[in-house]
C-alpha cells in the first residue's frame, strides 16, 4: 500500500495549487485551501514513509509508459523514504508560511501562479525520489525544474529577477542535458530504463556516466564550480520558495548523485577522492563567499553551497569506503552526509523563512540598514538564532550530529589504513574545522547585524513581528532541529534503511548506531542545557533582572549613534582580505589627498568570481565558436518543425 499512498500524496501535492489559481482572490480562501491540501497530501506521504519503515519493502507500482517497451515504476526504497522526509516536511511548512508572506493583496500579479507552481514543484519532488526508472525520473525532474523557474520569476517586473531566472534555467538545462546522457547510457548498457546495479559497468562509458551524473546533478546541487546560478536565484525568489529551493530542491541534485552511485557494482578510488576533494573546496569557498555578502538571502544561498559541500564530503568518504571495502567509512560517510541532508533542509529553510519574515517587514534584503530587530520581532529573532547555531554545526543542535559522524569517519580513515595515499582523505577534517569556524563567524555576523545592537534605519526601528502563519512553520522547524540534536538515536532506523538501500547487496554493513554510539550526544546536550539553565538562574538570583539600565560603554563617549556600530562589511573585512585571492572583492575606497577631506563614500562588494571570471567568458567564447549556427536558429517555428522532420526522416533512412 505504501507505494500507492505515496503516489496519491505526490499527485495530491501537484493538484494542490488549483484552488488558489481559480477561486476569487477576495477572501483568500483559495490560498488557504491550497495550503491545506498540500499539508494534507504531505501528511499522507509522511504516513506512507512511516508504514514503509515498519513494513519493509513493498511491491512496486508500475504503469505502461508512453514510450513503447518501457514502464514507469514507482517504488519507495530506503533511499527514497529518507529523502521524502525533508521534501514532505519542508514544503508543507513553507506553503503555510506563504499564506501570509505572499498575500494576494500584496502581490496581485503573481498570487495565483505562485501557489499553483509551488504545489506542482512539491509533488514533482515527491515523485522524483520514488521513481525507479529513467523516464519517470526525467519527467519529474523537468517538471520540478520548470516550475521552480516560474517561482523564481514570480516578481518578473524586476530586471534583476529576470536575469536570475534566465541564469537558473540555463544551469538547470545543463543539468537536465547531463541527466539525459546518464539515462541514455544506462539504457545502452542494460537495455532498459529501469534503475538497478549495472553488472558490466566498467571502462570509459561507465566513467562518462559517472562524470555526467556528478557534474550534471552537481550543478543542480550547487557544488562549487557549478554553483553560479544559485546565489541570484535564491535571493530573487520569494522567501518561502527560496526555503524549498535551498532546503529541498538542491538536495534533489544530491539525490541524483547518490542514486546513480548505486548503479555501479564497484567504485574506483579516484572517484571517491574527486568527490571528497570537490566537496571540501565547495564547503570552504562557499562559506568564504558567504562572509562577503550584504544581501541576507545571497548570504544564505552561499551557505547552501557550503552545506552541500559538507554533504558531498560525506558522500566522498563513503565512496572511498566502497572502493577500499571499509564498512565503517561507508556507514559514517553516507550516514553523516545524508543526515546532513535532513539537517540542512531543516535549518536552512528555517533561516530562509526567518529572513523572509525580516524582509517582509523591512522591505529590503540589505543587512546594512537593519539592526536591533530582536527587540521588535523576538519570535523571528530567536528562531533565526537557533537556526544559526544549528547551521554552524554547534552542539546541542542537529548540525553537530551530522558533522561529528563525518568527522569520525575521517578520523577512522587515519586509523584503519596503516599507510598509503588514502590517508590524505583525513585532511578533510581540518578543512571541516575551518568551515565550522568560518560559518560561526558568518552567522554571528548576520545575527549581530540584523537582530542585535541598535536599529540602523527608521524602518528597522519600527519593524513589527510576523503573524502566526509565518511564526508557526518556523517553530515547527526549530522543534525538529532541537529534536534531532537532542535525540539523534531516533534517526538511526531510517538512516539504517537508507544505508542498506545504498549499499545494495553488500554484506557486513553495520548500523550507524553501532559505528558511532549516539547516546553520549544526548547526555552531553542535556548537561550543556542544564548548566546553561543553572547559570541563568544564578544570574537571576543575583538580581540581574532588576539591574539598572544605562548607555552602552563606548570608551566614555556619551552619545553613541547606531551608525557607529560595526556593520556587516566591517565585521567581514579581515576575513574577506584573507580570502581575497578567491573572492576578488570590489572596493571603492576614497583616497584622501587634502588636509581637510570632503565627504567620502566607501563601498565593497563580493561578486561571484566563478560566474564573472570563468563561466561568462566561457559562454561568450562558446557563442563565438557556434556563431554560424545562428543561421539555423532564426526563431521561426516553421523552420524548427522542418528540422525535426528532416532529422526523423534521416533516422529512418539511417536505420
Amino acid at each position: 500500500m505504501t507505494n500507492e499512498l505515496i503516489l496519491v500524496s505526490g499527485i495530491g501535492a501537484i493538484l494542490s495549487g488549483i484552488p488558489a489559481a481559480v477561486l476569487p482572490a477576495r477572501f483568500r480562501i483559495g490560498q488557504a485551501l491550497s495550503a491545506l491540501v498540500l499539508v494534507f497530501a504531505n501528511a499522507v506521504g509522511g504516513y506512507a514513509v512511516f508504514q514503509r519503515l515498519i513494513q519493509g519493502p513493498q511491491a512496486a507500482v508500475t504503469f505502461p509508459s508512453p514510450i513503447a517497451g518501457a514502464r514507469l515504476i514507482v517504488d519507495m526504497d530506503g533511499l527514497s523514504a529518507f529523502f521524502l522526509v525533508p521534501v514532505l516536511l519542508v514544503t508543507a511548512a513553507a506553503s503555510v508560511f506563504g499564506l501570509e508572506y505572499w498575500k494576494s493583496s500584496e502581490h496581485p500579479q503573481s498570487f495565483r501562479r505562485v501557489p499553483l507552481f509551488f504545489g506542482i514543484m512539491s509533488g514533482a519532488m515527491t515523485l522524483l525520489v520514488v521513481a525507479q526508472d529513467g523516464l519517470l525520473f526525467l519527467a519529474a525532474w523537468e517538471t520540478m525544474a520548470v516550475s521552480a523557474l516560474i517561482l523564481v520569476a514570480a516578481e518578473d517586473h524586476i530586471a534583476e529577477t529576470r536575469r536570475a531566472a534566465w541564469l537558473y534555467i540555463a544551469a538547470s538545462h545543463f543539468a537536465t542535458l547531463c541527466a539525459f546522457g546518464v539515462f541514455t547510457i544506462l539504457r545502452s548498457m542494460t537495455g532498459s530504463w529501469e534503475f538497478g546495479v549495472i553488472e558490466n559497468a566498467h571502462g570509459p562509458l561507465a566513467a562518462i556516466m559517472a562524470a555526467l551524473a556528478f557534474f550534471g546533478f552537481g550543478t543542480k546541487a550547487g557544488i562549487m564550480p557549478m554553483h553560479v546560478w544559485l546565489p541570484s536565484a535564491h535571493s530573487q525568489a520569494p522567501s518561502h520558495v527560496s526555503a524549498i529551493m535551498s532546503g529541498v530542491m538542491i538536495k534533489m541534485g544530491i539525490y541524483g548523485i547518490v542514486r546513480v552511485s548505486t548503479f555501479f557494482p564497484d567504485i574506483p578510488l579516484a572517484w571517491g577522492g574527486i568527490v571528497l576533494g570537490l566537496g571540501t573546496v565547495s564547503a570552504i569557498l562557499g562559506v568564504a563567499f558567504a562572509i562577503g555578502q550584504h544581501d541576507i538571502k545571497r548570504l544564505l544561498a552561499y551557505h547552501s553551497v557550503e552545506n552541500i559541500g559538507i554533504i558531498v564530503m560525506g558522500l566522498g568518504l563513503a565512496l572511498i569506503g566502497r572502493a577500499t571495502h571499509q564498512p565503517a567509512w561507508i556507514v559514517l560517510g553516507i550516514g553523516g552526509g545524508m543526515l546532513h541532508v535532513w539537517n540542512h533542509a531543516l535549518f536552512k529553510s528555517l533561516l530562509f523563512l526567518g529572513a523572509g519574515s525580516v524582509i517582509h517587514t523591512m522591505g529590503t534584503r540589505n543587512m546594512e540598514v537593519m539592526g536591533g530587530l530582536a527587540k521588535r520581532m523576538p519570535w523571528t529573532a530567536n528562531c533565526f538564532l537557533i537556526g544559526a547555531v544549528a547551521i554552524c554545526g554547534l552542539p546541542p543542535l542537529n548540525g553537530f550530529v551530522s558533522e561529528i559522524l563525518i568527522y569520525t569517519g575521517l578520523f577512522r580513515v587515519l586509523q584503519d589504513t596503516p599507510q598509503g595515499p588514502v590517508q590524505a582523505a583525513a585532511l578533510a577534517a581540518p578543512g571541516l574545522a575551518v568551515v565550522g569556524a568560518l560559518a560561526a563567524a558568518c552567522f554571528i555576523k548576520v545575527v549581530g547585524v540584523v537582530f542585535l545592537g541598535a536599529p540602523r534605519s527608521d524602518r528597522a526601528a519600527t519593524a513589527h513581528e510576523a503573524g502566526r502563519a509565518m511564526v508557526g512553520p518556523m517553530l515547527v522547524l526549530v522543534l525538529c532541529c532541537v529534536a534531532i540534536g537532542l535525540l539523534p538515536a531516533a534517526c538511526v532506523p531510517l538512516l539504517d534503511t537508507m544505508v542498506t538501500s545504498w549499499t545494495v547487496g553488500a554484506d557486513g554493513i553495520p548500523s550507524v548506531g553501532t559505528e558511532f554510539y549516539l547516546t553520549p550526544i544526548t547526555i552531553m546536550a542535556g548537561l550543556l542545557i542544564a548548566l546553561c539553565l543553572a547559570g541563568c538562574l544564578a544570574l537571576r538570583w543575583r538580581g540581574i533582572a532588576d539591574a539598572p539600565r544605562g548607555l552602552t560603554w563606548d570608551c566614555g563617549y556619551a552619545a553613541p549613534s547606531p551608525r557607529m556600530q560595526y556593520t556587516s562589511s566591517s565585521f567581514a573585512e579581515m576575513l574577506v582580505k584573507l580570502f581575497r585571492w578567491a573572492l576578488q572583492p570590489v572596493v571603492h575606497a576614497p583616497s584622501i589627498r587634502e588636509l581637510f577631506p570632503q565627504r567620502a563614500r566607501f563601498e565593497s562588494h563580493v561578486n561571484d568570481t566563478v560566474l564573472e571570471k570563468a563561466v561568462m567568458p566561457a559562454v561568450r567564447g562558446g557563442l563565438w565558436l557556434v556563431r554560424w549556427g545562428r543561421y539555423f536558429q532564426n526563431g521561426s517555428l516553421q523552420a524548427y518543425l522542418l528540422y525535426i522532420l528532416a532529422i526523423i526522416v534521416f533516422l529512418f533512412l539511417w536505420q
Binding site: A374, F400, P430, L531, C532, G535, C536, M564, L575
Partner: protein
C-alpha cells in the same frame, strides 16, 4: 561513557573547578617579577571572582537576553570541556568516543555566544573585538585539529582520554619530532585562544587594540565574574592539553601523576608569563601570518606521522 565514581573522578572535578583561577595569579606573578614589582597575591583571581559575584551590575539599554547568555554559555562550555579532557589521570568524568570533536565545538559554541553578547551592545569597539575574535578563531581551530589528527593517528583512538592518555608517553619514543611540532603549534593556539601577548594584550589601555577584553567591556558584576571564571577555565583546559601532550604525567603512580600534572600547568602558566614579559604585541595584520605559520608547523608534524608509520 561515565567512569564509575572513583577517587580520580572526584579529584578531577575538584581540580577542574577550583584550580583554574590560580593560573591567572601565576601569570601575573611572573610578569611582576620580570617587571621588578612585587605583584598581586597569587590568589587575586579568587578574590576578584568573590567580589564580582557580590557586586551589582549595570546593563546597557541596547541589549537583549543574548548579552547575559554569552557569559553563561562561555562558562558552561568551559566546565564541560574541563570534564571531557583527562587531567592527572588518563580518565575523565564525561569521556566518550568522539569527544575530541565535541570539546573543540563546545569551545566554538562559547565563542559564538561571547561574540553575540558583544554585538548585542551596539558598541563599535565590541563589534571590532568580535570581528577579530571570529577571524583568528578560523585560523586557530584547524591548527588544533591537525594536532588532534596526529595524536589520533599515533594512539589509534578519537577519545580524549586515549588521545591524551598514556599512549602519548609511548608515542614520544617513536614520533618525537612530530609531537614536538604539535606541542609548539598548540602553545601558539593557547596564546591566541586565551588572548595573550603577542596576539592580544589583556592589560592594554586602548580599547582599540584589544580583542577579547574589548568584547566584555559592558559586562559587570556576576556576569563579568562568569566571564573571568570561564576565561580561567579555558586557559586551564589548554594548559592541560599541553601537559598531557608531553606524556610526562603517565608515570603509573597516581599521586606522582597528579603532582606532575598540576606542576605542569603551573609551568605552562609561567611560560605564558615569560612570553608576555619578553615579547611585544604583534601588529594586527601580522597575526594571521603567525597563525598560518603555526598551522604549517602542525602540518609538518602530520606529514611526519604519515611517513614514519
Amino acid at each position: 561513557m561515565f567512569s564509575s565514581l572513583s577517587l580520580h573522578t572526584i579529584i578531577h572535578v575538584a581540580v577542574a573547578l577550583l584550580f583554574p583561577p590560580l593560573l591567572l595569579g601565576v601569570i601575573n606573578r611572573v610578569k611582576a617579577v620580570f617587571g621588578g614589582r612585587r605583584g598581586q597575591p597569587l590568589l587575586q583571581a579568587y578574590y576578584d571572582l568573590w567580589k564580582l559575584m557580590h557586586k551589582d551590575s549595570v546593563i546597557s539599554q541596547t541589549t537583549t537576553w543574548v548579552f547575559l547568555f554569552g557569559p553563561v554559555v562561555s562558562l558552561a562550555t568551559g566546565i564541560l570541556v574541563a570534564l571531557i579532557i583527562p587531567l592527572g589521570h588518563a580518565s575523565a568524568p564525561l569521556a566518550f568516543a568522539g569527544d575530541v570533536i565535541l570539546a573543540v565545538y563546545l569551545l566554538g559554541l562559547g565563542r559564538f555566544f561571547t561574540m553575540g553578547a558583544a554585538l548585542d551592545t551596539g558598541s563599535a569597539f565590541e563589534g571590532m573585538g568580535s570581528a577579530r575574535e571570529a577571524t583568528f578563531a578560523c585560523l586557530a581551530e584547524p591548527v588544533l585539529f591537525i594536532g588532534l589528527l596526529v595524536l589520533a593517528k599515533l594512539t589509534g583512538s578519537f577519545s580524549m582520554i586515549d588521545v591524551l592518555g598514556d599512549g602519548v608517553a609511548e608515542a614520544w619514543s617513536g614520533a618525537t619530532v612530530a609531537l614536538l611540532l604539535v606541542l609548539v603549534s598548540w602553545f601558539v593556539v593557547l596564546l591566541v585562544e586565551n588572548s595573550r601577548i603577542p596576539f592580544d594584550d589583556p592589560n592594554t589601555h586602548l580599547e582599540l587594540t584589544m580583542i577579547h577584553e574589548v568584547m566584555v567591556l559592558d559586562h559587570s558584576g556576576p556576569a563579568l565574574g562568569m566571564i573571568l571564571y570561564g576565561a580561567s577555565l579555558k586557559l586551564f583546559v589548554f594548559a592541560a592539553l599541553l601537559v598531557r601532550l608531553t606524556g610526562l604525567a603517565a608515570t603509573g603512580n597516581p599521586l606522582a601523576d597528579w603532582g606532575i600534572f598540576l606542576t605542569g600547568t603551573i609551568v605552562v602558566a609561567c611560560l605564558v608569563g615569560v612570553v608576555e614579559s619578553a615579547m611585544a604585541r604583534f601588529r594586527l595584520p601580522t597575526i594571521p601570518a603567525a597563525l598560518v605559520g603555526a598551522g604549517v608547523v602542525a602540518f609538518f608534524g602530520f606529514l611526519l606521522v604519515m611517513i614514519e608509520l
